[in-house]
């Protein structure tokens, strides 16, 4: 019982504290810098791929954002795959004429949609993005710069959530101004920012935790990149060499983990460039964030049988990182249960075990209090979400009228 307690406790401590500390020391001792490109090598041809299912409401802003990026137009291709969309997705895209390559397929999921885009990509670097997020103006240049180094097979950018920084709303307004809509939108844009501020204030229960978790994850990613390769990419902004792009199994959940890991298994590095930035919103409540996490963790389990060689230390160049980070996270929930259940019967044997039991009980009581705060703020968040939605609809209507 005591042994099981200590094994569980040490596993949790290793995954969340020990591994990051080891990585930090490792990175300090063996940093592997990336040689960035200059001149023509700094702007290789890029094919940007977006898989969209019923995203008509978002795609106009998304494509406008991509077209406004600081990158030579003749070296940029935008491919949008409509994954069985039943709304106006294709009609919205047709208005862009030759600026956007449209691929319409039957609904088969994101992986199948990405596979459909593969034959259409004509440039050497493929950038993957989603319909919802927004790129910073220099994101594409920053994302492709590390490819000047021939050892680099993939690059992931940084996704900034609105709960991390007020920079988000400022960036969105800047993007609006760059598109030339500011004069028409004027006060509406200001309204949207006010609504966004209100939304941030009421959803902070989950956003606080998610923001902190996301910053922690990005620090791990930065350190893993410094010592070799990251263990996945941010689905909203990552790029690989087209030659390394392999078709995904149709039901793949985490294309943004499987694709980069295949690049790593092929002997290339996948690095994190935090200067390549995309912006997004955190989930509005715990249910939405929980659904996202269930999907992510289900995907991590799925990858074990899609790519079992990841478990072989002689085949996986980042085996230590993979086991410590990805597999460790899968094991922690069970270690938490084991640590608590084994702590109860041994608590009377030593003061240390009494202290650890008190600490665990205090932690779960705090988590319960956090749950109460979440449920209390949920009603208010729903109201704010409705207001933000109404404001967005009003903004879209105004923009349509102005156009």
């Amino acid at each position: 019982m005591t042994l099981l307690f200590w094994v569980s406790a040490l596993l949790i401590a290793y995954v969340y504290v020990g591994y990051p500390v080891i990585l930090r020391v490792w990175a300090a001792l063996c940093d592997r810098p990336v040689h960035l490109g200059a001149g023509d090598r700094a702007t290789p041809g890029v094919s940007i791929v977006i898989a969209a299912h019923n995203e008509a409401a978002l795609l106009r802003a998304r494509v406008d954002n991509l077209l406004s990026l600081d990158y030579p137009a003749e070296r940029r291709q935008i491919i949008v795959v409509s994954d069985g969309s039943t709304d106006d997705t294709v009609d919205v895209l047709r208005k862009y004429g030759p600026l956007v390559d449209i691929v319409a397929v039957e609904h088969g999921g994101k992986a199948a949609a990405l596979n459909a885009a593969r034959p259409c990509a004509r440039f050497e670097i493929v950038v993957f993005a989603d319909a919802r997020q927004v790129f910073a103006p220099d994101a594409l240049r920053e994302l492709v710069a590390p490819f000047a180094d021939p050892r680099i097979g993939g690059v992931t950018g940084e996704l900034l959530l609105d709960c991390e920084s007020a920079l988000f709303s400022n960036r969105r307004d800047t993007a609006d101004r760059r598109r030339g809509h500011a004069s028409q939108l004027g006060g509406v844009a200001m309204d949207r920012r006010v609504h966004a501020d209100r939304r941030r204030s009421v959803v902070s229960t989950i956003a606080d935790g998610v923001g902190m978790y996301w910053r922690y994850e990005k620090e791990l990613r930065r350190l893993e990149s410094a010592v070799g390769s990251t263990l996945g990419a941010t689905g909203a902004i990552y790029a690989i060499r087209r030659a390394l792009w392999q078709p995904l199994p149709p039901d793949t959940i985490l294309d943004d983990v499987l694709t980069p890991m295949r690049v790593v298994m092929a002997g290339y590095r996948v690095v994190f460039n935090e200067r390549a930035r995309a912006f997004d919103r955190a989930a509005i409540d715990a249910d939405a964030e929980s659904r996202r996490k269930v999907r992510t963790l289900a995907g991590n389990y799925q990858i074990l049988w899609l790519e079992p060689t990841l478990l072989l230390p002689w085949r996986n160049p980042v085996w230590i990182q993979y086991v410590s980070h990805k597999l460790g996270r899968l094991a922690v929930p069970y270690a938490l249960v084991a640590a608590f259940c084994t702590n109860v019967p041994i608590a009377s044997t030593h003061v240390i075990y009494q202290a650890t039991l008190v600490a665990q009980v205090a932690f779960y009581l705090l988590a319960g209090y956090g749950a109460v705060l979440e449920f209390m703020s949920r009603g208010e968040a729903s109201t704010a979400a409705a207001e933000v939605h109404a404001a967005s609809a009003s903004t879209a209507q105004t923009a349509k009228g102005a156009a």
């Binding site: 935790g209 715990a286 929980s290 659904r291 929930p333 069970y334 209090y369 956090g370």
Partner: protein, 36 residues
Amino acid sequence: MAVVSRIARVAYTFVMMNCAAVAGLFAAARGRKVWR
């Protein structure tokens, strides 16, 4: 009090994410379509 609330929120998120990890295992095992 604000500090306690903040720690409580982080603790809640941590617990919620670990519950999601277990749910993820069941979702993957049952082949539930969580990705479309």
